[in-house]
Symmetry: C2
């Protein structure tokens, strides 16, 4: 019950950062052949599951700022992987949709990422898998809902 952090090998926060860094590196390596960065993949994956999301929604879901997501969207739009209406149908939000090409590359990327996740959790049992996810969710909730933006 010390007041300071103590040995890093016993720190949950350090282990968390370590795991996130390793996952990021593995995803980066896996997605490179497709010419996708992790934020770009995250954007596609979110759009695949919830079509019509606005740029601000995507930014919150991918844990980046609206400005960063804006740049990501411009790049993906130029590659013809997604499309947005020129004018907002309501309010200012521009609902974004995947194109067939976007769905195609997402399908391949998602398989790659799923393989990375399976590799990451291969030594965990099915219950351990869900337990880990639940524990992480509890940590997120305890730190307060994710601000995500500014």
């Amino acid at each position: 019950m010390t007041q300071e952090v103590g040995d890093l090998n016993f720190s949950v926060g350090y282990a968390l950062k370590q795991a996130a860094a390793a996952l990021r590196t593995a995803m980066d390596a896996g997605l490179r052949p497709l010419g996708l960065s992790v934020p770009q993949y995250a954007c596609l994956e979110l759009l695949g599951q919830r079509p019509g999301l606005s740029a601000a929604d995507l930014a919150r879901g991918a844990f980046v700022t609206r400005q960063s997501m804006h740049a990501v969207l411009l790049g993906l739009e130029e590659r013809g992987l997604l499309e947005r209406p020129a004018v907002a149908p309501q309010g200012r939000a521009l609902p974004t949709q995947l194109t067939p090409a976007g769905r195609d590359i997402l399908s391949r990327a998602s398989r790659i990422v799923a393989a990375v996740e399976r590799r990451m959790t291969q030594s965990l049992t099915t219950e351990g898998h869900q337990r880990l996810r639940a524990d992480l969710a509890a940590c997120v909730a305890a730190l307060g809902q994710d601000p995500g933006d500014h």
Copy 2:
């Protein structure tokens, strides 16, 4: 047993990123009054636990490149929080040490970060705490040892 990632709410990788982002935000907010960024704190914490580490060692421990750590060290050295010999006593590595001022600010920073960690894991039991850390370590090991650099 799908091949793709599936609903993000059931993805361990997504939960991991979410938790890491929330922890980063909370640490950032807590350390701001001390004028420390997370990488700067990580550097101090590593040096406090293992004095004499080289810049390359610190970079691996903090999950950044040598170049980034180099910039961090320059800033902390200018603030008088750590000191390095002008010439390498052996090889090229410059063993870094905290100054008394560095140890002082580290002590305060470490208390803040420890409080954040306790808040993050407050809903977990003691066994749950260690279980989560073990699970994360297993994930890191399964993804292969952390490359860390280049």
